[in-house]
């Protein structure tokens, strides 16, 4: 039963992740007073891209083509590590969260290399910023994980999420909520969301993630966009598992609750994006350093 639920979670992620992007877009449209694109627009886009030919830069080499494939493969693997709420994930071993963080790092490594492979100045700029913000987001992620590990006494992601909240909601769980908050900030930073990055501006100079993939087209672009949606799902699942203190013990119920929670997280992200302006690039580090401070406060809390 649990195994079925975990497989279902993975499949749900694979199938529903583009819908998550659709939900965010609709939320933003709602706040902007527009009707917005259909929920399934992202699927249409992906299918259209899949059917297209391609134009490659003369400067680019095999790395440019390899990056998107590897990126998608990495996220699909990483998703198998992420538990849905208290449910055990498909792939569990002590230290799996380090593997998760570093595989995502591998994905970033090749995205950046593919960007630099074109020799475009814009893409170099985006790549440079991507590495800068990754430098800030990484310690936040690890500090958060350390707090969770210390709070639960477990060394695998599934173990941690299963242990947390197993005794229900208590005031002692406040640090966990803090970590959920910091992970939400990591989500915003890692997924090119508004206070950090705005893919919708018309100036490539000001973008980060979107400008790195300027030269990709067709199937490669579809892989990248699908991978981005899956990565969003991955972080949303991590946040949701912390923020929703519900562990019924019924795998299917937990799964449904978690998936609903993931979509609620998407709505929250949409609200954040609608109500906040994009931070100036020099202010982004401050936001991430502040979230590091939050997780360390939570850490000292657990230690005391």
């Amino acid at each position: 039963m649990t195994l079925t639920a975990s497989i279902l979670h993975w499949l749900a992620a694979v199938l529903l992740a583009p819908l998550l992007v659709g939900v965010i877009n609709r939320t933003k449209a709602f706040f902007g007073g527009r009707r917005g694109q259909p929920f399934l627009q992202v699927y249409h886009d992906l299918f259209k891209l899949m059917g297209k030919g391609a134009v490659y830069s003369q400067t680019a080499t095999w790395i440019f083509r390899f990056g998107p494939m590897l990126g998608l493969a990495v996220v699909l693997t990483a998703l198998a590590i992420v538990p849905a709420g208290g449910l055990r994930a498909l792939f569990v071993f002590p230290g799996d969260f380090v593997f998760l963080a570093y595989t995502l790092g591998l994905m970033r490594f090749f995205t950046v290399l593919a960007a630099l492979d074109t020799g475009s100045a814009f893409e170099g700029m985006g790549a440079s910023r991507e590495m800068q913000f990754a430098l800030l987001a990484e310690p936040v992620l690890f500090a958060g994980l350390a707090v969770l590990a210390a709070g639960s006494g477990q060394l695998s992601l599934s173990g941690i999420y299963n242990q947390l909240w197993s005794a229900g909601m208590r005031p002692e769980g406040a640090p966990v909520l803090l970590v959920a908050l910091t992970l939400l900030m990591v989500l915003l930073a890692e997924n090119a969301r508004i206070p950090v990055d705005d893919p919708a501006t018309h100036l490539e100079l000001t973008m980060i993630h979107e400008v790195m993939v300027l030269d990709h087209c067709g199937v490669d672009l579809a892989f990248i966009q699908y991978g981005a949606a899956l990565k969003l799902w991955l972080f949303a699942a991590l946040v949701t598992g912390l923020a929703i203190p519900l562990r019924t013990g019924q795998p299917m119920v937990d799964l449904v609750v978690t998936i609903a929670g993931i979509f609620i997280t998407a709505v929250v992200v949409g609200i954040v994006e609608s109500t906040m302006a994009r931070l100036r690039l020099v202010r982004v580090p401050q936001m991430l350093v502040a979230s590091l401070a939050l997780s360390l406060a939570a850490f000292f809390w657990i230690l005391r």
Partner: protein, 662 residues
């Protein structure tokens, strides 16, 4: 049998080294002989070392030696065996590479001398890890410093190289002075300096002093901040295959010495662990930050060695903390992680230095901002370098990740199971924060290197004319890149290499428990790596199917529709690194020179950034200047008359006599 083979390896290397001197100016003969000697010495040494690692039993040999305090006492135990394997592997591969690399200088240089020093360096490194006597150890240590000094001075006609060489020699001897003091204080009870007869230090204060001396002495060789200042000078000055050996294994003998001597000092108190942890975190973060700021490929790699040694030092800190706090699991993970990372570093760092040598060989420059597009000119080197770069950033499924995972797990374990031990938890937190920052910075650093040097379009005529090096230079890189993959996908192999050492240092039961606990995740790592590879292959097939029958065209880089892009408009390495350097300027204090011409049609503008080593500028230059001032004021002692010098000697002897008799 074991000791005979090890001895014969030493003999082959020494005799071969002398023979190289007499190769009579013929470059080809000298190179051939040097390489043959190096490979033969390596093979003779590796075989018994692997045997010792396999069985876990140590072998010793003690020969009488007519030197006061000395005895020719050598032994191979698992710890030594691990280092023997690393030294031999890297030296032999670097030697094969060096044959092609040195060909270009064949008519300007007497290669016999170089090969002599190379073989002697290999022999002295072997002797360091073999020796079990303080005097023998110090002699081998000195031999290693001197031979590597002469190798650094290979292109001594250049002023920069000479400066680098002298910096290196000074650093090496300041370190050696600490080591001499260490052994003098360690021995002294019954006049023997054999490691197994040394008395444990008399009290915690004495042990502490000895530990500090060991950290200073070995740290100067290993490159702990702020003793690292010689590394970024000496590595770029030396020929690339020598840099590979120096950076890949020679500095690691510093770590070996630290581990070996710490074992002799009795049970470690908690502060030793803290000291190593903090030194390691500082070295790691500053090393990689400076690496990111460099404009020269080999200088960058040298700073990256400081970073990796920092990681290892942190791991050793966790080991000592675990021993002191009686947490065997933490101790085992720290020790095994540190040693494993050391092995991995030997592999990928020498690979990267060989790659840098190939770039130098092909494009005749190492200035990152003048390169570009080398991937198309030298695809083989590029692929090997890419694997090395991904491995050094610690990405799965390559070998760098396995070692770092051990350290991470030690740190997370300290955080998790530290109920009632807040100190350990804080130590774990510091370690894992430092590791994550180092990891992210290393990724930035090596995306910069690969992206600017190998990707994009050539930025200069040098890069445009680059060509693949000869086969003898390519194959060593292939072997090392293959090892990166093998030890990464086959994660349990690496663990099997270091587990005998853990069993030796921590006791059988603790080590076995640790190894049993790590095996499942190592297998999982292999599985995960395989899964990623399989999925990528699957997606490649899918992509090919989707592209079938569609138009696939090539064109210029789009660049938002700009019509006349040139190679000079590409992003440069300095710009790529600048956001991070600027953000961290309070740590490394870069210097910026800018000239901006305002107006509607600015004629000229330039921007230059320099990140000179803060410790060199602010610590060592003033320090040595002060020493020079003091020495100059004593200059009147130096009159140049023989009689006066004899008088000095006589007075000294008299004073000593009076002191002793009284």
């Amino acid at each position: 049998m074991t000791m005979e083979m090890v001895l014969s390896s030493l003999l082959v290397l020494t005799i071969g080294a002398v023979a190289c001197l007499f190769s009579g100016g013929c470059a080809k003969r000298a190179s051939g002989l040097g390489v043959a000697v190096s490979v033969a010495g390596a093979l003779l040494a590796v075989w018994p070392a692997v045997g010792v690692l396999w069985t876990g039993r140590s072998v010793a040999l003690r020969l009488p030696w007519q030197v006061p305090f000395g005895s020719f006492h050598i032994a191979v135990d698992p710890l030594a065996a691990l280092f023997i394997v690393m030294i031999s592997l890297v030296s032999a591969l670097a030697a094969i590479y060096g044959m092609g690399y040195l060909e270009a200088c064949a008519n300007r240089k007497h290669l016999g001398v170089t090969w002599c020093f190379f073989n002697l360096l290999q022999a002295s490194m072997l002797l360091i890890v073999l020796s079990r006597n303080g005097l023998l150890f110090v002699m081998a240590w000195e031999g290693m410093s001197l031979t590597s000094f002469f190798l650094v001075m290979f292109e001594h006609e250049k002023q920069a190289v000479r400066d680098a060489g002298w910096t290196y020699l000074t650093a090496a001897h300041l370190g050696a002075a600490c080591l001499l003091a260490l052994f003098v204080l360690l021995g002294g009870t019954d006049g023997s300096l054999d490691f197994d007869r040394l008395a444990a230090p008399s009290g915690p204060l004495m042990a502490g002093i000895l530990f500090v001396l060991a950290v200073l002495g070995f740290g100067a060789k290993a490159g702990f901040v702020p003793l690292h200042v010689w590394l970024p000078e000496a590595h770029p000055a030396a020929p690339s295959h020598v840099s590979a050996v120096m950076s890949g294994v020679m500095i690691e003998t510093g770590i070996y010495g630290l581990v070996r001597i710490t074992l002799l000092l009795g049970p470690p108190p908690l502060w030793w662990g803290w000291a190593l942890l903090i030194i390691g975190a500082t070295s790691g973060i500053l090393g990689v930050l400076y690496a990111l700021a460099q404009h020269d490929l080999k200088r960058l790699l040298a700073y990256s060695s400081v970073e990796n040694i920092g990681i290892v030092c942190m791991a050793l800190g966790l080991w000592l903390l675990g021993v002191a706090a009686r947490k065997p699991e933490l101790a085992a993970l720290g020790l095994m992680g540190g040693l494993l990372h050391l092995c991995n570093h030997a592999i990928f760092k020498s690979l990267l230095f060989l790659g840098a040598g190939a770039v130098k060989h092909g494009a005749h420059t190492l200035a990152i901002d003048r390169l570009g597009g080398l991937q198309k000119k030298m695809p083989h080197t590029a692929l090997a370098f890419l694997i090395g770069a991904a491995a050094i950033c610690g990405f799965p499924p390559l070998n760098g990740f396995v070692g770092e995972l051990f350290i991470y797990m030690g740190a997370f374990g300290a955080v998790t199971h530290a109920a009632g031990n807040g100190t350990l938890a804080v130590a774990g937190m510091i370690a894992l924060l430092a590791l994550s920052v180092i990891g992210a910075l290393a990724a930035a650093c090596f995306t910069k290197v690969y992206g600017i040097v190998f990707s994009g379009a050539p930025r200069s005529a040098n890069a445009l004319g680059a060509a693949e090096p000869p086969r003898s230079m390519r194959h060593p890189m292939t072997v090392l890149a293959g090892l990166c993959l093998l030890l990464g996908i086959g994660a349990p192999i690496g663990a099997a290499l270091v587990s005998p050492v853990a069993a030796q240092l921590l006791g059988e039961s603790a080590a076995v428990a640790a190894i049993v606990s790590v095996r499942p995740w190592l297998v999982a790592l292999s599985l995960g790596g395989g899964f990623i590879a399989a999925l990528t292959a699957l997606l490649a097939v899918l992509r090919r199917r989707l592209h079938h029958g569609r138009s696939i065209a090539r064109g210029p880089t789009w660049d938002c529709g700009y019509v006349a892009p040139t190679a000079r408009m590409q992003y440069t390495a300095s710009s790529f690194a600048w956001p991070i350097i600027d953000m961290m300027r309070w740590m490394i204090r870069p210097r910026v020179e800018a000239c901006v011409d305002h107006g509607y049609f600015p004629r000229q503008a330039y921007l230059a950034t320099h990140s000179a080593d803060f410790f060199r500028q602010r610590l060592f230059v003033p320090l040595f200047r002060a020493v020079a001032t003091v020495s100059n004021s004593l200059h009147w002692l130096q009159q140049g008359r023989n009689q006066l010098y004899v008088l000095y000697i006589a007075v000294t002897v008299l004073v000593l006599l009076v002191l002793k008799v009284r």
